[in-house]
């Protein structure tokens, strides 16, 4: 499943895109520990699969919580992307 957490507002599209099928195949889920803002969590979804998700409290403010990991105009790899060997997580901006 492709889960898009975030929002679209007047300033742009801000979505954290998670491919939960890949996360199901990833037992360690290193992105959770790599996230400095504690944005990510492991949960059991509606189909009883153990997947990665963006915590509820961050879903309406991902632009700000994920902002410091990739300051505008800088070519840096976000920590969650860096540790993900399967390409399970992307950001829309």
């Amino acid at each position: 499943m492709i889960a898009n957490y975030g929002y679209k507002d007047g300033s742009g599209d801000f979505f954290v895109i998670i491919d939960t099928d890949k996360c199901m195949e990833c037992p360690e889920k290193p992105c959770v520990a790599a996230c400095p803002e504690n944005v990510l969590e492991v949960m059991i979804d509606d189909y009883d699969d153990e997947v990665l998700a963006v915590r509820e409290a961050f879903r309406k403010k991902v632009k700000y919580s994920c902002g410091p990991c990739k300051p505008a105009g800088k070519e840096v790899v976000r920590p969650c992307h860096k540790v993900c060997a399967l390409g399970g997580i992307k950001h829309s901006w």
Partner: protein, 292 residues
């Protein structure tokens, strides 16, 4: 005594029962209760067939809204809450349904509900609810393939439409038809925020725009806004719309035009899709032997 101001936003609350089903003959009775921010629905199914439902406005707290919706769905059926084998709570108040055996997200419930309402060919579901809108792609079994939910602001939602109905003093059920009575489609209102859109609409009325044209501009903005969400999530035929805005022909026809796709015609009230999906999840859980 001052007259109470007319509530143009008010939509019909009602309950319904299928007279062709004798629930006493059913092996599995399940229910789904969808407590949304604006409306609440309770659906009862007998052996996986829609038996009864109630659709009403959400009250000041989720537990009571769930209880009231369920009591209304049960009304006149001779069925008691204890006759229901399993209940799933869904919607934003899903964890506050006191009699529910399990909570399931509204995304998964709308997906499964749409599969029942529209058939197994549905691949893209747009749920336009009270305070959020969801774009969901599903498979032939009604399982979610991908989703995107936008609940950051009320534009593009039922609540936004209620605000506009009141502002223009047009009964909410007439908004869609009225918005189509324009010779030429005006530019959409530019604001994506309902508060600013309201200010913009007030300005247009002051400039002499007829109500039809203002509504057309708002319905068009709403359609345009959800299209971009749909496109981000991917659009595939067949396409269906659930939620209260699914009944607004002004928004639906503009979405269809912009997408180049015709939405499937619903067999039931588009507002019950979430609760219906909840009742179907409940049935699957009973069959799997899962309780609480």
């Amino acid at each position: 005594m001052a007259e109470k101001p007319k509530e143009y936003w008010r939509w019909d609350e009602y309950n319904w029962r299928n007279p062709d089903i004798d629930w006493r003959k059913a092996k599995i009775i399940t229910a789904g209760v969808d407590v949304g921010s604006v409306s609440s629905q309770a659906v009862i199914m007998a052996d996986g067939e829609l038996y009864a439902f109630a659709n009403m406005r959400t009250g000041s707290d989720s537990p009571n809204s769930a209880i009231n919706a369920m009591n209304w769905a049960l009304e006149g059926t001779g069925m008691a809450l204890s006759d229901i084998n399993f209940t799933v709570g869904t919607g934003y108040g899903r964890v506050n349904v006191p009699f529910a055996n399990k909570a399931v997200t509204e995304i998964a419930c709308h997906a499964r509900g749409a599969n029942y309402m529209y058939g197994s060919t549905v691949r893209t579901v747009l749920d336009m609810g009270g305070q959020d809108c969801k774009a969901i792609r599903i498979d032939e079994k009604g399982k979610v393939v991908s989703f995107l939910m936008n609940d950051k602001c009320a534009a593009g939602t039922g609540r936004g439409m209620e605000v506009f109905a009141n502002l223009l003093a047009v009964p909410i059920v007439e908004v869609g038809e009225m918005s189509l009575q324009v010779e030429e489609e005006p530019a959409p209102v530019s604001s994506t925020c309902v508060v600013f859109a309201k200010t913009e609409a007030t300005g247009l009325l002051r400039d002499g725009w007829p109500k039809e044209k203002v509504l057309a501009a708002y319905c068009s903005a709403m359609a345009h806004r959800v299209i971009s969400l749909l496109e981000r999530n991917g659009v595939e035929k067949d396409f269906a719309i659930t939620g209260g805005i699914g009944k607004n022909v002004g928004v639906v026809s503009r979405i269809e035009k912009e997408l180049g796709l015709t939405a499937l015609k619903p067999r039931y009230d588009t507002q019950i899709a979430g609760a219906l999906g909840g009742a179907l999840f409940a049935k699957a859980l009973v069959e799997k032997g899962t309780k609480k």
